[in-house]
């Protein structure tokens, strides 16, 4: 099976967010970009499928600007992906999820792809649009909110669960398809030092962005705002647990007005 995993470089969770000078996006000055969240889990899922299915190859693809995109591709190679492909895009263009999906589709269409894995959404823009748009561009079905993915080689079927508002659905589907993973591993594998060193020298295939692609999406950021800083909790004073409970309920009812 040929598995393609799509990943995006996003700011590390510890990043202190600030608006950039243009006011429309966040300031990337000093920000560390990493492979994280659902994308990191998608890589983990791909490698687990590879281990369980002889003859499987895992190809990682990312669309975005240097140097962050190359860094997450090398991080994926260090984890055990077999090949990496980079569609270089200017930062502003890559920020539009539909244009990113179009760039990814161009690269994925040119490589063998039985199963295309994406994270549910990137942890920065949280659009969650790439998997569906990619499936539409590739002309294959897509399944979102997927929890648990197994390949039944005998039946030639993917078996998985989807978590939707209606509950948990159990599915089987033939390949090819696009799967957006909801499941996040809290302890995905970490790269071993020899692999990290080796990954620095591994080749990365570059795919030129489509010369006919638009320079800007039809969805553009205008403003990036941070909520007013929280000033810290009002700490309740009390002598007994009962007094604490009474005070809290009174506050929730009369001051915060959130008591049911």
């Amino acid at each position: 099976m040929e598995i393609v995993v799509c990943v995006k470089a996003v700011p590390d969770a510890e990043t202190r967010l600030r608006a950039a000078n243009d006011g429309g996006t966040f300031d990337i000055e000093g920000v560390k970009f990493v492979l994280t969240g659902y994308d990191e889990s998608a890589v983990e899922q791909a490698l687990l499928l590879k281990e369980a299915t002889p003859g499987t190859k895992v190809h990682v693809v990312s669309a975005g600007p240097p140097p962050r995109t190359e860094e997450v591709l090398r991080a994926s190679l260090a984890l055990g992906c077999d090949s990496a492909t980079w569609v270089e895009m200017p930062a502003g263009v890559a920020a539009d999820p539909v244009l990113a999906a179009r760039a990814l589709a161009r690269a994925v269409a040119a490589m063998p792809h039985d199963l295309v894995l994406c994270g549910k959404n990137a942890l920065d823009d949280e659009a969650g649009v790439v998997a569906g748009a990619l499936a539409e561009l590739l002309g294959v079905p897509d399944f979102s909110s997927v929890l648990d993915l197994r390949w039944d080689a005998g039946a030639s079927r993917l078996k998985f669960q989807r978590a939707t508002e209606a509950g948990t659905e159990t599915w089987e589907a033939p390949l090819p398809c696009v799967v957006a993973l909801q499941r996040a591993w809290n302890d995905p594998r970490t790269a071993k030092l020899p692999m990290i060193l080796k990954s620095r020298k591994l080749p990365i295939s570059k795919v030129a962005a489509d010369p006919a692609a638009p320079a800007a999406g039809t969805s553009r950021p205008l403003k990036f705002e941070l909520p007013p800083a929280r000033t810290g909790a009002k700490i309740l004073e009390f002598k007994t647990p009962d007094e604490a409970a009474q005070k809290l309920v009174k506050i929730l009812k009369e001051e915060a007005k959130v008591f049911p």
Binding site: E126, E136, T168, E169, N186, P221, F224, P227
Partner: protein, 327 residues
Amino acid sequence: MTGPTLVVGEAEDGHLSDATKEAVGVAQSLSGKENVVGFVAGSASRAIAVGFGRVGVARAYLAEDPRLEGAVGAVVAHLVAQAADAAGAELVIVGGSTFGRDLVARLSVRWNASVATGVTALSRHDGFLEVRRPVFAGRATETRKLDGAHAAVALRPHAFPAPADAAGEAALTPVPLDTVPPALWNAKRLGLTATVRGAGPSLTEATIVVSGGRGVRSAENFHLIEELASSLDAAVGASRAVTDAGWRPDSYQVGQTGKAVSPQLYVAVGISGAIQHLAGMVSSRVIVAINTDASAPIFKVADYGVVGDLFQIVPALTQEVRRVRGR
């Protein structure tokens, strides 16, 4: 954009879902009540489509066919694009659900629409739409401009009021299915062996969430959290420490790699407040923290703090909530 707005409906227990009604409310205030058209696709969805009339939508498209039961999202996207074109719509609005987000993703390509998901505010300007949406798990908000001939927007759940139900029936226009490319039917769902709905409100939809963390100390003690949640009709969440330890399943996890929640009230019990966790709950309206450690970071983001032993505070709180609510 001056054409009608198409609202794509979703069913919930045989009626239009709350998320759909919220979308109807947004469409009506944006385009005018007369300028909103409904859409429903399903295997037995006539009554649901007619139900658009109850929230003031006079006309709805209906795609009804047994094959739509378990069809892939691409089929629905195809039919929505077709109905939107037939209606002369320039904007499609859908509720904030898994279905809605998937549909909008597909329409970005199939209907060549500029799209946004998780939208909390929407306004129409000269020739473009402006949307606001939380990003970075609620740590920031972005305003985006959507231009182009078509736009498709998925809302954030509970961000908008739903219009009140009244009497009324929408007049239906059938959507023909013969234009669906045959290959899309081949990609139909093969099996649905279980649909299990959990007890209590779901974590992402609940108006109150009570979460327990490492401070709860064991799986056996977690009933304290569940009893407090039950007294408040709240959903139960957990920090990563709890799901990692296997005290509760992964589906309980609130945080960056778990669920992002934004309830009216979030009660964090025995949770220190690692960034991982904060990323999933910091956009809650009111946050209460109960923790023995007065220097825990959770108190920096909480509105109200109780510094004390959760094993004493939580049972007292549960009892007080029950007393005040008379149950």
